[in-house]
Every structure is written in C-alpha cells, then in structure tokens.
Symmetry: C2
Subunit: 202 residues, 2 copies
C-alpha cells in the first residue's frame, strides 16, 4: 500500500496512526501542499478529484480519498471497528461530528498558523466563529467522555483515532484544553495504545 | 422508529428520503430550530449532545445523530449500501466529501436565506469563500459524474441520497446549476427512483 500524504496533516496522521496500530507496512509519498502539488492535473485525474491528501493507494491499485473513509476501509474486520450495526453507526456518528463540527474549527486555525497563512480580514473574522464553535465541539466531547473511557463501546476505535488527530495538537491553533479534564485523560488513554506514533513520525 | 427533525433541513430530508425508499414507517417530530428547540437541556442530554437534528430514535429506544451515520445505519443490509469493502468505503468517501466540502458551502447560504439570518459583515465575507468553494464542489461532482450514472458502482446508493439533498435545492442558496449538465442529469435520475419524495413532504 502507498499513502499519498503530507506530514503536517492531522488527516494524514489519522491514517498513519491506524496503519501503525495495525502493524501494516506502507510507502509514504509526501506532497508539498503549500505548492499545490495536490492540485496538478495528474493528482486530480488519478488520485482525488477533490485535490486533497490523504489518499490511500491500495495493494490492488485503487485510490481512496477522505481520511475517515480510509480509516473505515482499513479497520473493517479488525478490533478497531465494532461489528454491531448500531455501534458501527455510532463510530460513524463521531467521525462525521469530527469532519463537520470539529475539524473545520479546530484544525483550520492550526493550519493557518503552521503554514504561515496571511490573516486577512476574512480569516480574522472567521477565526472568532471558529474559536467559539471549536470550544463548543470540545465541550460536546468533554460531556460525552465524562464517565466513559472511549467514544464508542468499551474499547479504542477509529472514532478515537479520528478525534485524537487534531485534538492533541489543538494548542497549535490556539485552543486551551485546561477546562477539559475528561478530554485530556482520554488523550492520554489514546497515546497509551500499543504501537502509538507521534504526528511527525513519517 | 421516530425521526427528530426539521422539515426545512436537507440533512433531515436525507433520512426521510431513505425511509421512503425503504418503505419504513416512522413518526416525525418537528423542532423549531429558529427557537433553539434542539438546544434544550433535555435534547442535549438525551437526543444529541451536539444540539442538532436529525436524530433517529430506533425501535429499541436508542438515539442516533448525524444524518450520514443514520443513512449508513438504515441502509446496512439493503441495496442502498454495497456489500463490497472498497465500494462501502467509496460510499463513505462521498458522504464525508458531502459533509466537509459540499454542505458547509452549499447548504449554509440556503439556510441563511430560508431562515432570514441577518447578513452581518462576517457572513457577507464568508459567503464569498462559500460561493467559490461550493462551485468547486459542484465541479468535482460534475467531473466524477461525467460518464457515470451514480456516485458509486452501478446503482443508486446512500452516497447519492446524501449529495442529492442539498444539491437539488442549491438554487435557494444562490447557486446556478446551468454549467453542470452531468449533475443536472444525475439529479433527474435520483428523483426518478421508486418512492421518491420531495423535501417538503412531511
């Protein structure tokens, strides 16, 4: 398998982290997203018409974009994705929460900071709303994790992988996790899983 | 089953539409989202900690939020969700595309318009970006659908249900589908499916 990736990306990290948990070998191909290397004609035609990493190239030569779809594909049939129909749907519930309510508010300010994006007026105004909605998303996580070890069922699943990726670096986008003790305890449980790797481990 | 819902919501419509396709009976419970009826303590504690409709209340009394997770739950084991592992992941690929790249740009301007939200400066500036990114998402759909009948495999799936919901009312948010003939032909194929219902059919 090959992972078309960017090392700074939390979405890419989700896949790298699960591949490490699963102890699956893969080749990582780095794209410079600041130089639009994921917007070339070849990338759009062959890898992902939406021009984004990560894209998983399967051993049979299929290209699969969208980090959470890749997680589901890789986890299918493993202990990282429950078999029960309702529990599977709950894993997806939290992964859609991650992409809609969490990532745009918590990952995007980090992206602007890490990639040195100019804070024009539109972004400055957007940041106010993202800060408010990002803290609201962290509040939803805090209430859910109060009294729970992991997001779904009794064990670590790809719902945790998906939400761990950008939560554990949220301070790089200006978020303070001090008011969220259940989230911080859950982050520690996630990073204690076997074969855990850090976000910058290529 | 009960569907906790708002009739103007495209996310709610996705579920209503699939329930109609599946010919499954359900009770619909309407919430006035303009009056924050989904942000009450009871709603947050029992139905969805994220304070949003739709929420499916299953026949066994479980509450499942997130429209696309509900679609996956209801379609599991039916012809609307392929059995093949890669095709299932592709359905999810397009559903995550819908929630990340499509819905925030194409549904939100419609929401502002339909619900009479005041266009303060932050929203006016955001609308410029949403218009650009919404048209980019429609372009991704147009290129993918060129030569294809449906988003995944040979038949209509919940990937189509998810993307149909807000695309077919995108003009209510100011989008013009004239430059997207493959998208328009696909919309016609979707609305020709057996048991199709309109967005305002409660």
């Amino acid at each position: 398998m090959r992972l078309h990736d960017n090392l700074s990306s939390g979405n890419g990290y989700k896949v790298r982290l699960l591949l490490a948990h699963l102890d699956l070998p893969f080749e990582r191909i780095e794209y410079d997203i600041d130089r639009d290397e994921t917007r070339t004609a070849r990338f759009l035609e062959t890898l992902n018409p939406n021009g984004r990493i990560p894209v998983l190239e399967t051993s049979t030569g299929n290209f699969l974009p969208e980090s959470n779809a890749i997680l589901f594909y890789l986890a299918d049939g493993t202990r990282f994705l429950p078999e029960d129909r309702l529990e599977r749907a709950r894993v997806l519930q939290w992964m859609f929460f991650e992409q809609y309510s969490h990532e745009p508010n918590i990952a995007t300010p980090r992206y602007w900071s890490v990639h040195g994006i100019e804070m024009i007026e539109e972004r400055q105004l957007a940041l106010v709303g993202k800060r408010e909605q990002g803290y609201a998303a962290l509040g939803v996580m805090e209430r859910h994790l109060d009294g729970r070890e992991f997001f779904v069922g009794d064990g670590y699943s790809i719902a945790d992988t998906a939400l761990y990726a950008y939560t554990h670096v949220s301070h790089e986008g200006g978020f303070d996790l001090a008011p969220f003790p259940a989230v911080r305890a859950w982050l520690d449980r996630c990073s204690s899983q076997p074969n855990h790797i850090s976000i910058n481990a290529g």
